[in-house]
Every structure is written in structure tokens, then in C-alpha cells.
Amino acid sequence: MAFIEVTDISRRFVMGDTVVKALDGVDLQVERGEFLCLMGPSGSGKSTLLNLLGGLDTPTSGLIRVGGDNIAELDENGLADYRRKRVGFIFQSFNLLPTMTALQNVEYPMIFAGLPPAERQQRAAQLLTAVGLGDRLDHKPTELSGGQQQRVAVARSLVNQPDILLGDEPTGNLDTKTGEEILTMLTSLNQGGQTIILVTHDPRVTKHASRTVHMLDGHIVGEE
């Protein structure tokens, strides 16, 4: 059995009289240590699938097994624990807290994990140094470039040592060169064993991936 087993999941949104089938009977297996790309046109259901994998949303039907546990049947607290312990997110718009420094932003998830401040700071500084921001610990997001902000976000996503790193178009707001830097960083993480799943529009991203899955209208239509 694969590390991630998605079996016949559907996600429907009811909007007034109409029902939108964002996902319709999707099956997917991901092994540990894979770097998977989800490609497809706008509205094909990529983000919806990623959110389900990250435990931010629950499917209308179907099974999502991660390391043997079905996360589709977790309650809110169970999902919160799943997100905290097993998943790291990177977003297209970085989602850093503007009033906090880089160090504090990376510390943030560990506050909810209840870690003591000294341990948090040490770990956050380590990760920021690893992404090349060792000299920017006390900078606020507005004092950092887009690429630097996304690197802070990558450091933050790694803070609880997640099993899976999820990114929804993490290079979408970056120019080609900075985007390439972020992707190189993710590739080296993957080489260290980190499982990564990225959503993208950009064919260049797929070069870094070990596998690419194509989606259309809520279905998986092929892979390479």
C-alpha cells in the first residue's frame, strides 16, 4: 500500500440550485519521497484536491489514507492535529503575518504545538539559516523581497517536520528567476527525502518533479 492512497473521492459544492463537481471519482497514490506535480487548466480541481490532502477540507465521499489513517473521517480537532503534525503548507500569496518578523513567522506554528520559546527560536533560526535568510531574522515581511518571503514561508512549513509538503502555485507570484530558486530549494529538500506535492500551471515546474498528474474537470486524465 502506498503512503498516500486516495480512493474514489468526490467533492461537490452546492451553490443554490446547481451542484459543482470540483472532484469526481479521483484515485491517486503517492509514495514517500515523491515530488508530485498537479497540472491542469483553471477550475480543473487541483486546489480542491490539494486542500483535501492537507486536511483543510473534507471530501463529499471517498477515502484518503495517509500512512494508513483515513483522514476523511477525522473530526475538526483530529484534522487540526493532522495539519499540525503531518502537513506543511506553502501558498501562492505567502500568507506571512505582516506584524511579525521572519523569525516570529517561522515560530508561529510551534506556538500552537506548545513548544517552549527557547526551543522554538532555536529551531526557527536554524531553518531560516538553511533557506539562506540567517541574516534576515528580524526583518518584517514588507522588508523582504517576494522570493525571500516565500523562503520564510518554506521555513515555516518545515517547522513541525511534516510528512508531506503541499504547495498551491508557490511560484505563481514570483518572477522566473526567483521561482526557479524556490524550486531548486524544494528539489534539494526532496532529495533529502521530503515528500512534496505542488499545484502548478507552469510547465517549467514539472521539470523538477518526479511525476506529474494532469487534471481536467474534476478528473485525473493522465500522468507522466
Partner: protein
Amino acid sequence: MRFTDLMQLVISNLRRMVGRVVFTALGVVIGTGAIVILISLGAGLQSSLTSSLESFGAINQITVFSGGGGPQGGSDQALDARAIREFQSIPGVEAVTPRVSIGGTYQLNRLQGGATTYGIAPLAADDLGLAVERGTNRLSRGTIVVGPKVAEQFFDPRRPQTEIEPPDLFGQTLLLQLSRFDPETGAQEDRTVRLRVGGVLEETGGETDFNVYMALDDVEELTAWQQNGVSPRWEQEGYPTLIVITQLDPAIVQSVEGQIADQGYFAFSIGSSLQGLNTFFLIVQAALGGIGAIALLVAAIGIGNTMVMSVMERTREIGLMKAVGAHNRDVLTVFVVEAGIIGVLGGIVGVIAGWLLSLIINVVALAYISAQTAAQGGADPGIDRIAYTPLWLVFFAIGFAFLIGLIAGIFPALRAVQLDPVRALKYE
């Protein structure tokens, strides 16, 4: 989530919206300030009225008058020797003594003075709490014990407007001037009684300071003379007034007073009047506090409103909190505590403002009162404060403001908890 982290998070969140927090807390300041000032006014009036009432006499003394109505009524209600024995047998009663007043003015050399003269049992002075500063409070025939302010009542009748140095009465012989009228001719006949001052009482601040005490037998004899030789026969026919002294416990005073009244006598005590006054002021304070509470309720709506806006503006942050694994409990706590802290801040400032205002009221009102009494030539009314802030009120008001804030924060915090993380992260 650790408590220190929670507080740091809450404080940094509040600092981000400091302007709005100040305006929202202002409502709480007004509400708490109103509660503090209004209850302080109630408490201050109560304590001044209580102390001026207490100066009328000891709170463990019940004054019993004859001729009260009551269920039995009639002539067997005489305050005679039998009544004294009856009262003495009531549990909680320490002593019973008659008290009979007699009119007349005193003379010392060329000076004249007025005082109410009471006849009491020769050994009753201790029971009545009449301690002496000089001499003795035992009353033998032909002696009197005077209150410390009696000397101040003396004046020179030839120059009544001139202030004089109060004479030292201790050891002096005063002349009591009495008069009677012939029942047939109406002719006035005067009598002068020589009385030696055997003791001067300690100052109590009450009415006893102005009284003169005399042996009951002397008063009975003088009263017989005043009534043209007819003895009042108080022991058989009843004294006009008895003083019942009880143990020093308001509940006992009240119960003894009740039992005496039930027997058909008219009984009065400062103690039970104080109890009535206390009940009255409890109601006054509750009513005044209620007005402040309504102001706080309005402030609570303000806090709720601010927090609803804050939740909306911080939708993405809430989404992020959830994405990084915060439990609903954490989200709820952060927002409820934020609202509670707004309440506490307003409460603290409100208590300080209310307290300062009550100090100002004291200064202004007391200046006004003493100016008024001075203009009317009255004595110092003895009121030292109009508003008084008890310590419990400080803690109560701040705690109440905190609670109001917490409650006001619950609804906005629940909205934050219910946000869907996917949508919250996309919120613009």
C-alpha cells in the same frame, strides 16, 4: 498553547489596533466609572449617616418608653419594678436601668449653663458606658457627673454674646435652679439645689457629652417637690423611660427589642435603626450600581462590534492559524481573551477615573457643606466624606468589566472558529 504565548499574541494583536481598542475601552471606562462613582456615593452617604447616627448613643442600648400601644395595651404596661425584672430575664440583656430627666438651669458663680439632667441608678453608669476622665462615675446623693461638653455651655448672662473660657467644673459646686407653680394661685416658687461635680465623663462624640447625671433618688425627691409634694412613686407606678443594655451584637439588640415591643412597650434603638438604614442603602447601592451596569452593557455591545470587525479583517490570519494546526479551542481563546483584555483595560481606567472623581466630589461637596453650615451658624455636621470607594468595589468593578469583555467576545470568537480555512486563506 502556553499562557504566556497566549498573552503575547493577544497583546500584539491589540497593539495592532490600538486606536480602535482605546475607543472601545472608553465605553467600558464610562460604564465602570459610573458603577464606581455611584456605588461610592451610596457607600459614602451610608457611612456618614451611620457615624452621625452612632453619635446619638451606644448601639447596644434600647430605650423603652411607657404608654406604647401594642397588642396588650392598658395599664399593666407600666415600666415599674416588675417590668425591670421581666426585661432583665430576657436572654442577652445585661442590665436595665431607669432614666428620668429633670429640667432646670445650672449656675456657677456668675455663669449660667444649660444641660439635660438625667437621674439614673447609682451604679448604672458603667452599664451605660459612661466612663469618667476625672473623678468617679458613682452617683451619691448631692453629687452629679457631667459630660465633657457641659462646661462649654456656660455663659455670662450679662454679656451673652461674648465667648468665654469654659470653666473647669470638676470638684465645683453647681447650683441647680428649679421652680414650681402653685396649682391654685399659679404663683411661682423657686428653689436652689447645691450639687457637687464628682466626675467628668470621657468624650464620646455623642449626646452623653452634653448631659448631666444625677442619682435617681435625688431626681425623685426633686420631682416630688416640683409636683408640690406628690411623690411620683416610679417604682410602683412606672418610670417614664427604661434603658435596656444588651450584649454588643446587632442581632441580639434586634431580638431583645422585638421581644420588648411584643409585650406592648414602645422600644427604640440606634442598633436596629442602623440595620434598617443598612438595608435601605443596600437597595440604593444596587439601584445605582444597576445604572452603571446598563452603561457597561452598552460598552459590551461596543466590544462585540469591535471584535466582529477584527475577526473580519483578520480572516486570512485565522485561516493561517487553522492551516498550521491551531485547534478551534486556541482560536476561540485568542479572540475571547482579546475582548476580555479590552474589558479589563477599560475597567482599570474606569475604576481610577471613578475613584478620582469621587475624591473631587468629596473636596467640593465638603467645602460647600461647611460653607453652608458656617453661614447659618450651625455646628460642624461631622460628615467627613460624601463618596467612599471600598476595596471590594475596586476588584468587583475590574472583574465585572473583564467578565463583560469575555462574554462580549464569545460571539465574534465563535464566528472566527466557524470560518472555513480554505475560504479564509483566499479572503481578500
